[in-house]
Symmetry: C2
Subunit: 154 residues, 2 copies
């Protein structure tokens, strides 16, 4: 979920539920090597994260209104910041009522990672340039190529 | 991965690696209740799955060519069937050389589920109508609503 958010240009992921320091370390390690300023943090009470957020709030849920019908409204209302809420398991009612949009990326049981990725892909572009990357892929037709920027001459 | 494939209209998912009968049962159970004809099967040797497949073969990998540059070619070459190959962990070289396209949904470390979802979303639409569904979501602004089709009068 964190890597998906990062790849489509999110600044930060905030998660609740069980704290997972190893996951956080792994995400920070990737962001460190692959560049950019992506942040990951834990908040016990996601209700407060939603309440405190100043900007457009969109909850992705298979029970929401179709993305096809809502993406233009969201685009039009988007000003500076957007909070995308993605739940696992049971999402309490207050999440549905404390956001601006409940949007379905389809209405079938599906992966929340898929929902986040497709929402972000329809809302914005894949982010390709991450600052200060130590390592970068060199896109290729048929093999794995990477470039280690640390070995570049200054 | 299976539910993502299903939601964007795939007919079937074939997986390799460790066999997981519980996962297969769970996917079949969902497909049964939510409709459609989605199939899930296990093949020990994915190399043969790729070789035997008659149609366009696309491998999603962060090392591949950018989706932004390749989607039109893929669309143009697409005839009847398409096999989308998604690897976890180390993907052997022969996968890269036995497909028609190696395509990167971005070139950053990311979730393979995100890659599959976004590839399919750019290639086709979210599938909304599944035949013979027992249960369906009634899209809503602010709550969870479902309809049980089995209780409908004939």
């Amino acid at each position: 979920m964190a890597l998906t958010a990062r790849q489509w240009g999110a600044e930060e992921i905030v998660y609740s539920g069980e704290k997972d320091s190893k996951m956080m370390e792994s995400v920070r390690d990737i962001a460190d090597r692959w560049g950019g300023e992506f942040k990951v943090s834990y908040r016990k009470d996601f209700g407060n994260v939603i309440k405190e957020f100043d900007g457009l709030k969109v909850h992705l849920t298979m029970y929401g209104e179709p993305i096809e019908e809502k993406i233009d409204d969201i685009d039009a209302e988007f000003d500076e910041d957007i909070l995308v809420v993605v739940g696992a398991e049971k999402v309490p009612r207050k999440v549905y009522t404390n956001v601006d949009y409940n949007v379905g990326i389809g209405h079938q049981p599906h992966s929340e990672i898929a929902a986040l990725a497709v929402f972000m892909d329809r809302f914005t572009d894949i982010k390709h340039d991450f600052e200060d990357a130590d390592i970068e892929v060199v896109p290729s037709e048929d093999r794995k190529l990477t470039e280690d920027n640390r070995s570049r001459p200054e």
